[in-house]
């Protein structure tokens, strides 16, 4: 592979002061040269009017479907979808069938994804079959490649289990990832509790449930001295608690940065997600928390589901939307007045890796090329879904800002 990225603006903390544009020469997966006019000389060239280059993005909590739910997504299709979204790394949640809960499932993921353009860092389940009862073999899983533990889309309801999991990671290593929720308050809820839930006659998911869940998880992590990531926070009140616990990392789902519960007035099932879309005050607080670095990463919340589970009346439809292809373009399109591009990249690429304590790729001569190329000025329409599932609120929607391709593991995958 020989490639030159032409006249690129490099978006990276170490380059942010640099106003100039550079050519980047990549040979055999290594950044050979970064300079102002590199001779093309038989190289493949990627150019675009406003080419930007950053390190590849990283998603925590992607739902992949394989093993067992390949009709929704498999390792092949999620790789294509992730590339299209600008990702070169994902840490998938364990909600497959069987659940990723022992070294054999961890090895299954790692062995079947080696040398792809997207790196897979599996997250093992905290409890057997993600049922929230007995703890799994953390040490063995970490030895074989697990980087974190979570029951994924299932919140840990049992405080005792959460405590033991946090304690056990002191021996195994790995981060405990949990979406904070007080399940006994919220289990019948459909949408954020408020004026919209009342007027639609739908059971509410109270803001308070997230707050109580987060207070519990933070208290437990302090007692156990374990490493906690509060996954996909959605409320202003949760952010206020997070501020007092800087040792706890946090993520936010990109849909919560773009939509509120008022967007559900027409019963749009593809916006039925968990955590639910909240109110404008929450959305604004989430954006502000990203700017202030109180939230470390943006996730795609990618959850592929077959049509039979979504094409239903709202109350009976499943929670979840695909998002890995649209997360960055949507944020780039809609939030560029509030969030600098440099900050977006930090939250899409650096933050997630920091949460999991992974090495962060660098953009410098001699470094391995792990890159995402995009152009904030390109208009395009999301009409060719790479994911196997189509449950997206953005089908046939246009974005201003397009991912042009990714480079990783000596492979260059352009976004067609």
């Amino acid at each position: 592979m020989k490639l030159i990225l032409r006249r690129a603006k490099i978006v990276d903390p170490s380059w942010n002061k640099e106003k100039k544009r550079f050519d980047i020469e990549i040979k055999n997966g290594i950044i050979e040269r970064i300079a102002e006019n590199i001779d093309i000389n038989g190289h493949q060239v990627l150019e675009s009017d406003d080419l930007h280059v950053s390190i590849g993005f990283f998603d925590i909590g992607t739902i992949v479907g394989e093993p067992g739910l390949e009709h929704r997504e498999d390792l092949e299709s999620i790789t294509r979808a992730a590339c299209a979204g600008g990702y070169t790394g994902i840490a998938p949640f364990p909600n497959t069938n069987p659940v990723i809960q022992s070294k054999s499932e961890i090895k299954f993921i790692i062995n079947n994804t080696a040398e792809r353009v997207v790196d897979f860092y599996p997250i093992g389940a905290i409890s057997k079959n993600a049922k929230g009862e007995d703890i799994t073999e953390f040490i063995d899983m970490v030895q074989h490649g697990a980087v974190a533990f979570s029951d994924g889309i299932q919140t840990i309801a049992n405080a005792g289990l959460m405590l033991r999991a946090l304690q056990y990671t002191k021996a195994s290593g790995g981060v405990i990832i949990n979406h904070p929720d007080m399940v006994s308050i919220s289990e019948t809820g459909q949408v954020h509790e408020g004026e919209v839930s009342v007027s639609l006659g739908l059971e509410g998911l109270p803001e308070m449930a997230e707050l109580l869940g987060l207070q519990r998880d933070i208290t437990l992590s302090e007692y156990a001295e374990g490493v906690l990531c509060a996954y996909n926070i959605s409320t202003k009140s949760a952010i206020n608690i997070l501020k007092k616990a800087p040792q706890v990392s946090a993520t936010v789902g990109y849909l919560n940065l773009l939509y509120t519960d008022e967007d559900l007035e027409e019963f749009n099932v593809n916006l039925k997600v968990k955590p639910p879309l909240r109110e404008e005050k929450d959305r604004r607080a989430l954006v502000k928390a990203l700017i202030n670095d109180e939230i470390d990463a943006i996730t795609s919340g990618h959850q592929p589901l077959e049509e039979e589970l979504k094409k239903k009346s709202f109350a009976f439809a499943d929670f979840g939307a695909i998002g890995i292809e649209t997360a960055f373009p949507a944020i780039l399109s809609e939030l560029k007045d509030l969030l600098e591009i440099g900050k977006m990249i930090e939250k899409f690429a650096h933050g997630p890796r920091k949460i999991l304590n992974l090495d962060i790729p660098e953009i410098k001569e001699g470094a391995v090329a792990n890159l995402c190329m995009f152009d904030p000025g390109i208009d395009w329409t999301y009409d060719e879904v790479k994911s196997k599932s189509k449950n997206s609120p953005f089908l046939n929607r246009s974005f201003l800002g397009k991912v042009l391709g990714v480079i990783n593991n000596k492979k260059f995958v352009p976004n067609e």
Binding site: T188, Q190, E193, G194, E195, S197, V198, S199, L200, G201, L202, E203, G204, P206, E266, F267, V269, E308, K311, K312, S313, F314, A315, F316
Partner: protein, 311 residues
């Protein structure tokens, strides 16, 4: 109020999406039909050659009969489909139903379904006009229309009048549609019931809340008493019907002890002796049977106006 001759919407999915002009048009049309159904020959040819499917995915007697009667009085062709709630496990059949309706070339669909949003789902997927006959805990628009119409027969100008809705507000589509309808008409609306059966944010819809039934009735000109819906509760929100009847039930002694008359309404079916005693239900203060009669006229009006919009 600006007069209008056409509804603003091709469906009746809920009162929330209707304009006050729509409501007045429906009431005016219903008045004409009420006169029609009291004639010796009750049938008019307005909906000849219009096919209406009544899809009831939840048990219903009076709403289904009321719609069917309204349709037949308008000379529509009617097909009925009923399925008990138990057979609509998680609503899988709704999408297939949609496709069947499409194939049968039905013009209008009247649907009751246990899922909030089911009628909106149907409207997004088929061409026919949809009338919501109750979708879970969301809305039951024709009930609210006939309730308001019946209230206006007793108190013609609802603006500024005090209307109380009492009972299980949390699980009631009737309450929600009534709130939207009455606030659009300018009435003051209060809800009363046990705190566990009143949604926390209900006041955002412009209503006030009272937990004491006597105080609520002292305030009210009209009380719309809802059935206590134990069938829609997976969780025990109240300790017992006995306690409910004692502290929230309306009986003659309570009504007589107020220093003014209160009009009593109930959408049915009544749990006699629970939310309302027999002597109240059958008293002169009660307009429960007028509600039933007006139901046919109001539903005729809605069907007629939607059909007119097709042309």
């Amino acid at each position: 109020m600006a007069e209008t001759k056409e509804l603003s919407s091709k469906h009746i999915l809920g009162i929330k999406n209707l304009k006050p002009e729509d409501l007045h048009l429906i009431f005016k049309t219903a008045k004409n039909f009420k006169e029609v159904i009291n004639r010796p020959i009750k049938k008019v040819p307005s909906l000849r050659d219009v096919t209406i499917a009544n899809l009831f995915f939840e048990n219903s007697t009076r709403t289904r009969i009321s719609f069917e009667l309204a349709e037949k009085r308008l000379s529509a062709d009617v097909v009925n489909f009923s399925a008990g709630s138990s057979s609509v496990k998680k609503g899988e059949t709704l999408l297939d139903t949609v496709n069947n309706i499409l194939s049968m070339k039905v013009d209008m669909v009247v649907m009751r379904h246990p899922a909030p949003g089911a009628c909106a789902f149907l409207a997004q997927n088929i061409e026919a006009n949809i009338i919501n006959a109750g979708d879970g805990t969301h809305e039951h628009p024709t009930q609210a229309l006939l309730d308001a119409y019946s209230m206006m027969e007793v108190i013609p100008q609802l603006k500024g009048k005090n209307v109380l809705i009492c009972g299980d507000i949390k699980h009631s589509r009737v309450a929600l549609s009534n709130i939207f309808c009455l606030t659009k008409l300018g009435a003051n609306v209060k809800v009363c019931g046990p705190p566990t059966l009143i949604p926390k944010y209900i006041s955002k819809l412009g209503v006030s809340v009272e937990y004491n039934m006597r105080k609520a009735l002292e305030w009210a000109d009209i009380a719309n008493v809802l059935r206590i819906q134990l069938e829609r509760q997976d969780i025990r929100y109240i300790p017992s019907l006995r306690e409910y009847a004692q502290y929230y039930g309306i009986d003659k002694t309570l009504l007589n002890s107020l220093n003014k008359p209160v009009v009593i309404m109930h959408p049915g079916p009544i749990n006699r002796g629970v939310e309302i005693s027999s002597d109240v239900a059958d008293s002169d203060q009660s307009i429960i049977l007028q509600q039933v009669e007006n139901g046919v006229a109001v539903r005729m009006a809605v069907l007629y106006l939607l059909a007119a919009k097709r042309k």
